[in-house]
């Protein structure tokens, strides 16, 4: 039952679908505070929301009702409640003085439900004050504080055996039954194991005490433990430890361990080049282009080491070309690390960089931009202008339509007479 209604697909209540039937006394004042809360929760309200309970007859109730006090309406709702809930008179004690409760009564007035505040005047007022001033939190209002929904979810986890407490309760239930079956017969060498999602540190002692008190066995071993990931993993991996205020991490023997060594890409590159160095012809040409995910300094070191390998294998040092580019931004790295040094000694007046238009032949890619390859170059124009001491306007970027086998980037350099000077 909800007293505030919302339009279809609108998350904010836009009207109140209830009427308050207000008695005299403290309970009526508490209903007035509930009216304030209801008014605040909705973006629309039709007044009057409340009317004196003594003035209203059962036949007059045409919406959901909130009722308190001793009136014809509350008697009607109370009778419906007793008819619907036949168990509570046997299972629940009568409300004491000053004690109250709020009950939902389905189909209280025809098909309309009701909230019925029960108890004496002070008790009903207390129940209504809880409703208006605290719900849906247990006490302190606000999102940071414990909510009834959290309690409901905890109970759901308990009874559906998803929480350690619920699992332990079932385990203890079975233990109780088995011990009953054993009866008073003498037993020895009892071993009890109980595994739950997250175990309480005192569970072992509790289970031991239960068995000890009931069976008095000769020899008793009790094992309890947690099954939750991260509760038993090794000391070397603190990142995967399960952390919770009530659950301290403790080490345990890992189920299996495996060490993986992933060699550094630079080592693999050097080994790969060393492996093919024997095929270098004495005095021959060598051109080596490598791309690694390392910074400029590490790439320079790798380049020096890579140059040594063909030299020792007999390559002509004058005709040896080794370039180690960045694998993260290969186009930028090519222009800055390979092309720019080559142009530095030439009378460059302008540079034109051509980039291929990115094409999606499938037409299905969600992340797609025709300008992708020029975006990958950013901010190469500014960096080249600075390195070659050129005005920024002299570095131009042009797109070209790619064909099969065409490169992603092309670069042209011109002197002051517009002659191309980059071979």
């Amino acid at each position: 039952m909800t007293a505030v209604s919302r339009l279809l697909r609108m998350p904010i209540p836009s009207a109140l679908d209830a009427r308050l039937y207000v008695p005299a006394g403290a309970a009526g004042t508490a209903l007035a505070n509930l009216a304030a809360r209801m008014g605040m929760e909705a973006t629309g309200v039709t007044l009057p929301l409340a009317s004196p309970a003594t003035d209203s007859a059962v036949k007059d109730v045409r919406t959901q009702a909130v009722i308190a006090g001793d009136s014809a309406l509350s008697k009607e709702a109370d009778a419906k409640l007793r008819a619907q809930d036949t168990a509570s008179p046997q299972t629940e004690p009568n409300l004491a003085r000053g004690e109250g409760e709020i009950r939902v009564v389905n189909d209280s007035f025809a098909r309309r439900g009701a909230l019925l505040a029960r108890g004496d005047d002070a008790g009903a007022a207390a129940g209504l004050d809880l409703l208006s001033g605290h719900f849906p939190n247990l006490w302190e209002p606000g999102k940071p504080y414990l909510s009834l929904e959290e309690i409901r979810y905890d109970l759901h986890r308990f009874f559906s055996l998803r929480s350690g407490a619920g699992q332990a309760a079932v385990g203890l239930y079975h233990l109780e039954r088995w011990m009953k079956e054993i009866g008073t017969a003498p037993v020895k060498n009892v071993k009890a194991e109980l595994f739950v999602d997250l175990t309480d540190p005192h569970l072992t002692d509790f289970v031991r005490g239960q068995i000890q008190d009931r069976l008095h066995p000769e020899g008793l071993e009790v094992v309890t433990n947690s099954l939750r990931a991260g509760t038993k993993c090794c000391d070397r991996q603190p990142g995967v430890h399960y952390q919770a205020a009530e659950q301290a991490f403790h080490t345990s023997t890992p189920t299996f361990t495996e060490d993986l060594v992933i060699p550094w890409e630079g080592t693999r590159l050097l080994q790969a080049v060393q492996g093919v160095s024997s095929r270098v012809r004495r005095g021959g040409d060598v051109k080596l282009v490598a791309r690694v995910s390392e910074g400029p300094e590490q790439r320079r070191k790798l380049q020096a080491q890579l140059e040594d390998l063909p030299k020792h294998a007999g390559a002509n040092p004058q005709r040896l070309q080794v370039v180690v580019l960045s694998a993260y931004k290969p186009g930028y790295s090519w222009l800055m690390d390979e092309i720019a040094p080559e142009l530095a000694a030439k009378p460059v007046a302008s540079v034109k960089i051509e980039f291929a238009k990115e094409v999606d032949p499938t037409g299905e890619r969600a992340m797609y931009s025709p300008a992708r390859w020029v975006q990958e170059l950013y901010p190469v124009d500014e960096m080249l202008a600075r390195k070659l001491n050129l005005p920024l306007a002299k570095i131009t970027l042009d797109q070209f339509e790619p064909s099969k086998g065409s490169p992603t980037y092309r670069v042209h350099a011109y002197d002051a007479g517009s002659n191309e000077i980059l071979a």
Partner: protein
Amino acid sequence: MLKRSIPLLIMVCTFAFQRPPGPAANSAGSVADALATGWMLVDTNGDGIADFVNGKVVVPARPSAAENSAAANLAARLGFGTTGLTMPLVINAAANASDGPRIWVGRDTVPPQFAAELATLAPKLEDEEGGVFAGGRQSGGDRQR
């Protein structure tokens, strides 16, 4: 709703005995202003939307169903006019601390300071007639059968 053997009387008090430490409340110049932002409804963060109720609705020490009902409708309207609310909004006259604007429901709730002012207006009501009066700085009233 006002059809009672004892006339239902509501008095809107423009200021109480001392100012609260919280947001300053403007005067309710007339009964028509009582539910406008600035008096009991206050915009505390300057975004143009009332977010605080700076006062209470007071019912008698032994409120009748009619008085509680009237207070409930006032409270619903006040709640509707604000995005924030500190409970309780409706209090009993016996528990009333005078720390902000007040809407008094019932003649018996009105404190002595305003009783004399009301005494000149209330006798003008006929049987089964109720009234809403603004007290304090400026008096005035609307009445309804």
